[in-house]
């Protein structure tokens, strides 16, 4: 009898989704009335369904949309997000902080001041959360996610020379 490990229950940001894609999705869904079926949205975005679905997952995870019987509906937060013209991601700061790998990175940064993507990837791997089975590619995906989401959301700062993340400096 083989032992089965429990599936991870944490929210995990899809490794191939960038903040800009979620912003585009919400803006386009909003521009066509806030309710649109998935194939039409894919057509409007010029994206394959395979590309669109993880972006939709990310938008749903962030509370910007909900999907119902094949339709995508903007939530109240999504409508507000669509209308905001600058620093949209700062609006989602608290939500991004609840999703992995950002949650663990913030936890490590609060204790160690600076962390590398490797530290975050190792810590998550210990609880079974990985974006890729190869350690080097997993670390690269974690680093990319941290750069593309956590900096935009003003959660982390990053120094490319040392490869270290730290708590973001407060911005006006």
């Amino acid at each position: 009898m083989t032992e089965t490990r429990p599936l991870p229950t944490a929210l995990m940001m899809p490794g191939n989704v960038r903040a800009g894609q979620v912003i585009s999705l919400v803006e386009i869904a909003g521009s066509i009335g806030g309710k649109v079926d998935v194939p039409k949205l894919a057509d409007e975005l010029g994206a394959d369904i395979a590309v669109l679905l993880p972006i939709l997952d990310a938008a749903e995870m962030l509370g910007l949309v909900r999907t119902e019987k094949g339709d995508v509906l903007l939530t109240e937060l999504g409508l507000k997000f669509q209308k905001t013209t600058r620093n949209k991601m700062r609006m989602l700061k608290d939500r991004v902080a609840t999703i992995e790998p950002f949650r663990t990175a913030l936890d490590l940064v609060s204790r160690k001041k600076v962390v590398t993507a490797q530290d975050v990837a190792d810590s998550l791997a210990e609880i079974g959360l990985k974006w890729h089975y190869k350690p080097d590619l997993n670390e690269a995906l974690v680093r990319t996610l941290l750069i593309h989401w956590a900096i935009y959301a003003d959660l982390l700062g990053y120094d490319g020379k040392s490869g270290e993340f730290r708590k973001a400096q407060p911005k006006p």
Binding site: L25, T144, I151
Partner: protein, 261 residues
């Protein structure tokens, strides 16, 4: 990015391309590429140049930038003839042209390196401000290889804006980006550049994407033929923001395609 020089009034010609010819030379024989090309870009205008692939659109843009000397004719920017690269004209390239071993901030600083009138600290402030305008606050110490295509192009825009140019030249700036990123950046481009907060007074965009041109341009200059000539100009008199699904939008697209075909 405040400007202290006197600002030309709306409608003033900022860029004038006057009877420009360009010949390349093949085995000592002149090979004409551009023939008698004239066009203008006025204050607060975004002018698009379009035409078939290889017709010389980007070459014309490089002549405006002072990177290529025309065989005949001249280009005037704010009343003075372009005789080489100049500080009041900046260019954003299709493939970003970033130095991979320099961070985003260092790439923007590189554009400011000829400015002897600024201290290093002033250059850093200007570079940081340009990155913020381009939507990259917080990404100063990130290397190009760690950025997405859209973010790399934002660094390219920041580098061009940091020099406080009067004229911004965009060479197919969205064609290396995925559709989603390109759409978002297109939406931001017009308001980012034609904006009293920046120094930019005219923008010239080269693109082969007619829908993109109608979305952005106040005027379209159509090049065609070999050698290329201006076969027509279209003033896009459509309010902004422009609805790409509207019948009116399709009519403007059709006008440009008619000139191209």
């Amino acid at each position: 990015m405040s400007q202290q020089q006197a600002q030309p009034l709306a409608g003033t010609t900022i860029v004038a391309v006057e009877h420009v010819n360009l010949d390349y030379h093949k085995e000592r024989e002149p090979l004409p590429v551009l023939v008698d090309v004239s066009m203008t870009a006025k204050r607060d205008e975004l002018v698009a140049i379009t035409g078939p692939s290889g017709c010389g659109k980007s070459t014309l843009l490089r002549i405006v930038a002072g990177l290529i000397r025309p065989s005949a004719g001249k280009v005037m920017v704010l009343g003075s003839e372009v005789k080489g690269p100049r500080a009041d004209v900046s260019m954003v390239f299709q493939n970003f042209v970033l130095l991979p071993w320099r961070t985003a901030l260092e790439n923007v600083l590189f554009g400011l390196s000829p400015r002897k009138d600024l201290t290093e600290e002033q250059k850093r402030e200007k570079a940081k401000a340009a990155l913020e305008v381009a939507g990259l606050s917080g990404f100063e110490d990130v290397y190009p290889g760690e950025l997405s295509g859209g973010m790399k192009q934002r660094v390219g825009v920041a580098r061009a804006l940091a020099t406080e140019p009067r004229v911004m030249l965009l060479d197919e700036p969205f064609s290396s980006l995925d559709d989603l990123t390109a759409e978002r950046l297109r939406k931001e481009t017009y308001t980012l550049l034609i904006n009293p907060q920046t120094s930019v007074q005219s923008v010239i965009l080269v693109s082969h994407n007619v829908e993109e041109i109608i979305e952005l341009a106040d005027k379209v200059v159509v090049l065609s033929g070999r050698p290329a000539r201006v076969v027509g100009e279209v003033e896009v008199k459509m309010p902004r923001p422009r609805n790409k699904k509207s019948e009116e939008f399709f009519q403007w697209v059709d006008k440009v395609y008619t000139l191209l075909s």
